[in-house]
């Protein structure tokens, strides 16, 4: 037993190192091989975590929330296992544990922070039962892979019921997530943004779950924050936004983010209203587990994403922000974050249709791209495998774009001839490569 585990751990480490030397990520492959060599490895290593295991699920914000939570717990002086890169299916989860194990096949950790793809929860939970689950939100995403949201909700419910002692930390502003938490029978706490923030609402935005999951009646919304997140109530059965255990108040958004929760002031130098939810979710999770989180603001100040989530680069005189945008809700929030910057800017949008992106790109038509129209938007370049579709999409909102299938060419062109302020929005399979291209160009220009 012990020998197999040691073999599995060390083989996985070698594979990871070899893959990285060859310019590949190698994380999922390492997990896959480890599981082959020792099928009990995940259950065994997870059981060695001393204090608690968190899992983070939800359509958007998983990686950021999970990584923030990990940093926050480390700031408490604890040791944490984490799948930082966002490899979040079974093999990615295995990898996180295996790669953090020592050569003797032992994990030395107080906590684990593991993000899991919603559909993979039922495949991971047979190996360990988490103590906490953070559920960020549920939006439509990759319908060709996951099917309708109803299917995802059924899987998550099943997963929650597989771990009945797991406490669920849920976005109460999302009627779908809140219903799921109540329906599961698991203990739960809710976080959310209690008061109205936006005076004007985008009435065209795609919203999921307009009808009550409990009784089927159309929900009444007192206001929306974005997509279907807001203050809702069912006029028929009384289902409504729950009491928020962690209620973000005094919201500040635009260039910087700030809010108070439990009279604790939180500030971060981030863009994007959606990041309030990520910061709040990680805070709620840590607090629910009984952690003090006194250094949370310091954690936020030092948090420097290296994974293409609002990752910043500076190449010559050009400031560049790389961000992942992979579904309508996420993309709409990305556009808001980009447009918060009122300087002149160039934008590159890259759309691939590999299987991990979803081969169906019809969701592009559910994104409100007309909001890119602005005097300070100097240019938009469309790139990637489905750049033609993206160009057509923009045409129908009256935006002309440049077509450059090769993203490296597109980036180099904008560095040479652009406004010095570049946003690169890419979907999933382009993220790693684009990150590497930007690192490479950064190195050349140094």
């Amino acid at each position: 037993m012990g020998i197999r585990r040691i073999l599995a751990v060390n083989t996985a480490k070698i594979i990871k190192t070899a893959c990285q030397a060859a310019g590949k990520q190698g994380v999922t492959l390492a997990g896959k091989i480890a599981m082959k060599l020792d099928p009990s490895i995940l259950a065994e290593l997870a059981s060695q975590v001393r204090e608690g295991i968190f899992v983070t699920c939800g359509t958007n914000g998983k990686t950021t929330t999970n990584n923030l939570l990990c940093s926050a717990i480390r700031a408490e002086g604890k040791k944490v296992v984490c799948n930082h890169t966002g490899s979040n299916m079974l093999n990615g989860v295995v990898s996180a544990f295996v790669l953090s194990a020592k050569w003797n096949g032992k994990v030395d950790a107080d906590y684990a922070c593991i993000e899991i793809d919603e559909a993979s929860t039922v495949r991971v939970f047979p190996y360990f039962k988490p103590d906490f689950m953070v559920l960020t939100n549920l939006f439509r995403d990759q319908l060709d892979r996951y099917g309708e949201i109803d299917i995802t909700m059924n899987l998550l419910k099943k997963a929650m019921q597989m771990a009945p002692d797991m406490k669920v930390i849920v976005n109460g502003d999302d009627a779908l997530s809140a219903y799921l938490a109540k329906d599961s029978g698991n203990a739960h706490v809710f976080f959310g943004i209690g008061d109205r923030y936006f005076r004007e609402e985008n009435t065209r935005e795609i919203r999921e779950g307009r009808f009550c999951k409990r009784c089927g009646e159309r929900l009444i919304y007192h206001f929306y924050h974005y997509s279907q997140l807001g203050d809702y109530e069912c006029p028929k059965c009384g289902f409504k936004r729950p009491w928020l255990d962690f209620n973000a108040k005094n919201i500040l958004c635009g260039g910087k983010l700030g809010f108070t929760v439990d009279n604790f002031q939180i500030s971060a130098n981030y863009r994007g209203f959606y990041n309030i939810y990520n910061i709040l979710a990680a805070y709620a999770a840590g607090k629910t587990a009984g952690l003090a989180l006194k250094n949370y603001n310091k954690v936020l100040a030092e948090y420097n994403p290296q994974n293409g989530r609002m990752e910043e680069f500076r190449i010559g005189d050009t400031e560049i922000v790389l961000n992942l945008a992979k579904n309508p809700a996420g993309f709409n929030q990305n556009i808001s974050a980009v447009m918060e910057d009122n300087r002149k800017k160039d934008i590159i949008v890259l759309i691939n249709d590999n299987s991990q992106d979803g081969t169906d790109i019809s969701w592009l038509w559910d994104v409100d791209f007309e909001r890119f129209k602005d005097i300070n938007t100097i240019s938009i370049t469309v790139s990637g495998i489905r750049c033609q579709d993206m160009r057509l999409r923009l045409k129908y909102v009256g935006i002309a774009s440049r077509l450059e299938p090769d993203v490296e060419e597109a980036i180099r062109d904008r560095i040479a001839h652009g406004a010095g302020n570049l946003y690169v929005l890419v979907n999933y399979t382009a993220l790693y490569d684009t990150h590497n291209i930007l690192k490479k160009i950064e190195g050349e220009m140094r």
Binding site: L143, D360, I361, S362, Q388, D389, R391, L392, R393, V397
Partner: protein, 240 residues
């Protein structure tokens, strides 16, 4: 005299799964670019649909659960809808909306009674048909491209298919045909959405709607469709 068409979008709250808004945007823009007035009326479940006001009816796709809710509502307006179709009213129905036009849709959850507006029926089978798809329709020279994602297998009775499948599965993955045409009704599994990458289909719908309304032969002014053609031919070249 300015010409005008009115598009009725049925139940977008429930049927809006695969970028169907793009079909509406496409009709509106292609009218606007030609100086034709165009208006969209969105109907919710509570609203009464006045078919006599409409020139194009659009029915999109939704989840099985949502489709069931819509189906019950549509039964209440079936006669008006039928009169509209029989008087050459233009209909474009996609995915779930397409299935509802037929006699029935049998799922593992039960049987949904259809509208009997076209001669098709649909039965759910294990495994979904999910992929890019390319058709040749006899209505157009340019191939029709899109994306399909359906668990239902549709059989056609006395009506014609919308097109012959050149790549993909089509109605049932066996017959080699996709969609249905009856009078001025087009039903199809293609989303992506359908119309932007297939401007020939969009213009066909606009022409039929104008001819019915103004009772004269209409040939629309051609548009510069570079982006549309290139997006269409990219799919054709990649999969054929």
């Amino acid at each position: 005299m300015n010409r005008k068409i009115v598009v009725g979008h049925l139940y977008p709250d429930l049927l809006n799964l695969y970028g169907d808004r793009g079909n509406i945007q496409c009709i509106m823009k292609r009218c606007e670019w030609r100086g034709i007035d165009a208006e969209t009326i969105e109907y919710g479940l509570e609203d009464k649909v006045n078919f006599s006001k409409l020139d194009i009816v659009l029915l999109g796709g939704g989840s099985d659960r949502e489709q069931m809710i819509v189906c019950q509502r549509l039964q209440e307006i079936r006669e008006d809808f039928e009169a509209y179709v029989e008087s050459d009213g233009v209909v474009i129905a996609v995915c779930g909306g397409y299935q509802l036009l037929g006699h029935y849709y049998q799922t593992d959850q039960g049987k949904m009674e259809g509208l009997h507006l076209v001669d098709i029926y649909t039965e759910q089978k294990p495994g979904r048909l999910i992929d890019n798809i390319v058709l040749k329709s006899e209505l157009f020279d340019m191939p029709v491209v899109g994306f399909e994602n359906h668990g239902g297998r549709t059989k056609i009775g006395n009506n014609k298919a919308f097109g012959k499948v050149l790549y993909g599965s089509g109605n049932d993955g066996e017959s080699g045909y996709e969609g249905v045409i009856y009078k001025n009704v087009i039903g199809t599994y293609l989303h992506g959405p359908l119309l932007p990458k297939n401007p020939q289909v969009c213009d066909y719908l606009i022409e039929r709607a104008l001819e019915r309304k103004y009772k004269e032969k209409i040939i629309l002014a051609p548009l510069e469709d570079k982006e549309e053609m290139e997006a269409n031919s990219y799919i054709v070249k990649r999969f054929l």
